[in-house]
């Protein structure tokens, strides 16, 4: 971090750099818009990087099981922000690997939906809003992360990545995941959302003693106890908590390796 820049300035500048690298080096990009707090920050950063516009589609891979507030948010802000919104649907749960635990199996629909969308549009780069601090396996991610032709992630054979020089040449048929906010924390996301006045889905704020820290499918995502009814209060809450962000995401906790298996198969 350089003098004259605060922590959020430094995070923002790095993310913008990553967006511009992705746009310069890949041919057909899309931004994965999950409607959550992280991907909304990503869209904001993309607009900063490209001076007000997002020069690639925002792809929503829809499980059709999101909260109504999320759909309302999508329909409103895709227009207001001038996004090239593409909505694609996930296959039914019956089509998914039955050996996965129930919540992971449900979440794996998204992986399959993503594969279908990739084949349909032929994207060579997908911009995703994962963060290192969210989950142990995500901490090992690269900023430019190659995926196999089946969309899989080979954590054992990741290319070196240093000095902001990125591996951006996916083999034919494969694609890259680009992670512009990999280096952000949950608290950074909230502090930036507040500073930039980025709209959020109200589910993140406490109601009747509970709020959602992370938003997924309505049937496998649960609120956590909280009295934080504003972003400032969320920041204070995060300062003291030792509860993991994804505590309310059932799929993470079924077995010790459920999430990793999902990720190796191509989950975000």
């Amino acid at each position: 971090m350089q003098p004259g820049m605060d922590h959020l300035d430094a995070l923002e500048a790095q993310s913008i750099y990553i967006f511009r690298e992705a746009f310069a080096r890949l041919k057909k990009l899309a931004l994965l818009w999950s409607l959550g707090k992280d991907s909304n920050v990503m869209i904001w950063l993309a607009r900063k990087a490209f001076f007000g516009r997002v020069p690639f589609p925002a792809l929503h891979v829809d499980t059709e099981k999101k909260f109504p507030e999320m759909y309302a948010f999508r329909d409103h802000y895709s227009k207001e922000w001038g996004l090239d919104l593409k909505v694609d649907y996930c296959p039914p749960v019956e089509a998914i690997d039955p050996t996965l635990p129930p919540a992971a199996r449900s979440a794996a629909r998204k992986t399959e939906g993503l594969k279908l969308a990739l084949n349909k549009y032929g994207f060579d780069g997908l911009i995703a809003g994962i963060r290192r601090d969210e989950e142990a396996t995500r901490a090992k991610e690269r900023v430019f992360s190659p995926r196999g032709t089946e969309g899989g992630w080979d954590v054992r054979d990741q290319p070196p990545e240093f000095w902001d020089q990125f591996n951006a040449s996916p083999p034919p048929g494969a694609h890259l995941r680009i992670h512009p906010i990999l280096h952000w924390t949950e608290a950074d996301i909230w502090a930036y959302t507040k500073r930039e006045n980025i709209p959020i889905i109200p589910l993140y704020l406490a109601k009747d003693g509970k709020r959602y820290r992370s938003l997924g499918d309505a049937d496998i995502t649960f609120p956590v106890p909280s009295t934080a009814s504003s972003i400032d209060e969320i920041l204070v809450e995060l300062e003291g908590t030792k509860i993991p962000e994804r505590a309310g995401r059932a799929l993470d906790h079924e077995t010790e390796d459920a999430f990793e298996r999902l990720r190796v198969a191509g989950y975000l």
């Binding site: 971090m1 350089q2 003098p3 004259g4 820049m5 605060d6 922590h7 959020l8 300035d9 430094a10 500048a13 913008i16 750099y17 511009r20 690298e21 746009f23 310069a24 607009r47 900063k48 490209f50 001076f51 007000g52 020069p55 290192r132 601090d133 969210e134 989950e135 142990a136 396996t137 901490a139 090992k140 690269r142 954590v155 054992r156 990741q158 290319p159 070196p160 990545e161 240093f162 000095w163 020089q165 591996n167 040449s169 996916p170 924390t185 608290a187 950074d188 502090a191 920041l235 995060l238 300062e239 003291g240 030792k242 509860i243 993991p244 962000e245 994804r246 010790e256 390796d257 990793e260």
Partner: protein, 641 residues
């Protein structure tokens, strides 16, 4: 990981908004495999109270289920594959706090097979903790990691000597290892900030100086981490804005990039390297609003220029007068990660900043295994080894030596679309010609003797040097007219005329003057090789520059010293330059003062204050006949008429 910051000690700090006010340092933990990195990290998190609720219990339960005793390293080995192998295969990042720092801890693997991951982790760090097993001592991977920290530019290293419990907390054993590693790191220019005896398993030396190490009075690991400094400021260096892209989303043409060093503001006069085109920054653009103040290092910016110039991704924008060098040749010290050793003659893809160019490795020197104590030099750089390479680039680029600018002085090498190595720029050879691997000069359709038969002369560079006002241009024009009327092919290259076009990017700094002379010499030599007589009129005050021009033109170079006395030159003052210089409005003017270095040996010296223009021209012609440029039949023919 899901590890959220908490205070080291109850009275350590007041709660601050996350990460916004305290300095953040990024630390990598490196060292030989099995020397205890992950154990140290687990212990650090425990001792700083940074573990999420239930995490320790969960891992203890997992261990029990697997019938294994609990290990601190399990905290990090969250991946199934890692647990199975018992080694860290990729970097993991954990956050915690010390008294005065927010720490991002990067745990990098120690296994040689995963050196690429260690580099990925270490390249992000401000400081490093190098861990050594007290029983095993300094091992090959300890040395290799030490060397790589140095190559990656990590300048702060704390050493911990772990597993002191295995050597009965022997101060003597600790002393031996401390001296060995201190000598090794100091030899790399990387003196350790501390060497600390610890037992990560039991907690000695991590956050407390326990009774078992009462003979040690240096800092604990936590104190040593607390003493590391954040990254060094880049604002103080010269402006470097590598161009990422040009955007034309609307009527603005925005040049986008991240300021790697220095700063900029609207109105700045800039130069775009390597082409050397000069422009002014018209505006600094932004969204939702444009920034009003100056922008410093680290910012991702967009600017517009005051004129339409060809700018492309990979160019580097700098301030006029402090530009990086443009070059086709680079010498670098690199580390190599690819299975296939890097050998001389290899064709590679090089990335430096946002520039990408094909290149050829011309030479390899000092290729060694940095893990070995006295490693034999090899011809190729093997995987996980280091070496110095000379690289010839197919396109020119702008670069700085690493010592001048750490951001624009480093490069990576790509093989088959994947980063295979990286390193630091040791030197850039400005102006040196690329080794002609990709360059295939097209030969002229005409033979030299065909031209000389028509022109009745051979090709030459006639280089007129002397003070401003000495009569160089006058003589050059007279000579041009004379040779032309004799059927020859003279071409006048005037220093000032070329500055209006070809050399329009050059100013009057010593480097720019040297480059001006080099280009004049190159153009003149090209003409001479094609049978013309290139007449160069240029002050060219430095002996060294003229010697360089003679080297370029070689055997066709004919130097004429126009040795008119200084007072005569000033009296003539045909361009009014002397007057301006005396009035103090023309800087860097050669003429008043002693900055003209008269030649010591030339083909001809003429004092124009004591002869006519036509006498002087004749004298030059006679010299050219005498030295085999002009065919003297011309005069014979004239005599026979």
């Amino acid at each position: 990981m899901n590890i959220i910051a908490s205070n080291l000690a109850s009275n350590a700090t007041l709660a601050t908004p996350n990460g916004t006010t305290r300095p953040q340092v990024r630390i990598v933990i490196v060292g030989h495999v099995d020397h205890g990195k992950s154990t140290l990290v687990g212990r650090l998190l425990h001792e700083t109270g940074s573990l999420p609720d239930g995490k320790l219990e969960m891992l203890k339960a997992v261990s029990a289920r697997r019938g294994m005793p609990f290990e601190w390293s399990f905290l990090l080995d969250a991946l199934q594959t890692e647990r199975d192998q018992g080694i860290t295969i990729d970097t993991t990042q954990i956050r915690f706090r010390t008294r005065s720092r927010d720490v991002v801890l990067i745990d990098a693997p120690g296994h040689a097979e995963f050196l690429r991951n260690m580099i990925t982790g270490a390249a992000q760090a401000d400081g490093a903790v190098l861990i050594i097993d007290a029983l095993e001592g300094v091992r090959d991977q300890t040395r290799r990691h030490g060397y790589l920290l140095h190559l990656l530019g990590v300048k702060q290293v704390a050493v911990v000597v772990n597993k002191m419990d295995r050597v009965d907390f022997s101060a003597e054993r600790f002393g031996v290892i401390r001296d060995e590693i201190t000598a090794h790191l100091t030899g790399l220019g990387l003196a350790p900030t501390a060497v600390i005896p610890i037992s990560a398993r039991d907690g000695d030396g991590v956050s407390e100086r326990t009774a078992k190490i009462d003979w040690y009075n240096g800092p604990t690991v936590v104190e040593a981490i607390d003493a590391l400094h954040p990254a060094r400021p880049l604002d103080e260096l010269a402006l470097r804005l590598p161009v990422q892209a040009i955007y034309k989303f609307d009527d603005r043409r925005i040049v986008a990039g991240r300021i790697e060093s220095g700063g900029l503001t609207a109105g700045d006069e800039i130069v775009i390297m390597p082409a050397g085109k000069i422009a002014r920054i018209r505006s600094v653009e932004g969204w939702p609003s444009s920034p009003a103040d100056a922008q410093g290092a680290g910012r991702s910016v967009g600017i517009t220029l005051d004129r339409e110039l060809f700018v492309e991704r990979g160019d580097v924008i700098a301030h006029v007068g402090s530009a990086p060098r443009d070059t086709r040749r680079i010498r670098a010290r690199i580390f190599w990660l690819h299975e296939q050793p890097l050998a001389a003659g290899a064709s590679i893809l090089l990335r430096l900043g946002n520039k990408e160019t094909r290149a050829v490795v011309v030479a390899i020197e000092k290729a060694v295994d940095p893990g070995e104590l006295s490693s034999a030099e090899t011809k190729a750089i093997a995987r996980n080894h280091v070496g110095e390479i000379d690289i010839s680039l197919s396109q020119p680029l702008a670069a700085d030596p690493y010592v001048d600018n750490p951001r624009t002085g480093r490069l990576v090498i790509e093989v088959n679309g994947r980063i295979a190595g990286g390193g630091l720029v040791l030197s850039v050879d400005a102006g040196q010609r690329a080794v002609p691997v990709d360059i295939v000069p097209v030969e002229s359709a005409l033979r030299p003797d065909e031209r000389s038969a028509r022109y009745r002369h051979n090709g030459a560079v006639v280089w007129l040097t002397g003070l401003p006002g000495s009569g160089k241009s006058t003589l050059a024009r007279a000579l041009e007219r004379k040779l032309f009327s004799d059927g020859g092919s003279p071409i006048l290259l005037d220093g000032d005329t070329l500055r209006a076009g070809l050399n329009g990017d050059l100013g009057f700094s010593p480097q720019d003057r040297t480059e001006n002379i080099r280009r004049l010499a190159e153009v003149a030599t090209h003409l001479a090789r094609n049978g013309h007589v290139a007449i160069v009129a240029a002050v060219s005050p430095l002996r060294e520059d003229r010697a360089a021009a003679r080297r370029i033109a070689d055997n066709v170079f004919r130097e004429v010293y126009v040795a008119t006395p200084a007072d005569v030159c000033e009296r003539r003052d045909p361009k009014g330059h002397y007057a301006k210089a005396r009035a103090g409005v023309l800087h860097g003017f050669t003429g008043i003062g002693n900055d003209y270095q008269p030649p010591e040996s030339v083909e001809l010296a003429i004092d124009t204050s004591s002869c006519t223009v036509s006498d002087a021209t004749d004298e030059i012609e006679r010299m050219l006949i005498r030295t085999g440029i002009l065919f003297d039949e011309v005069t014979d023919l004239a005599a026979n008429i």
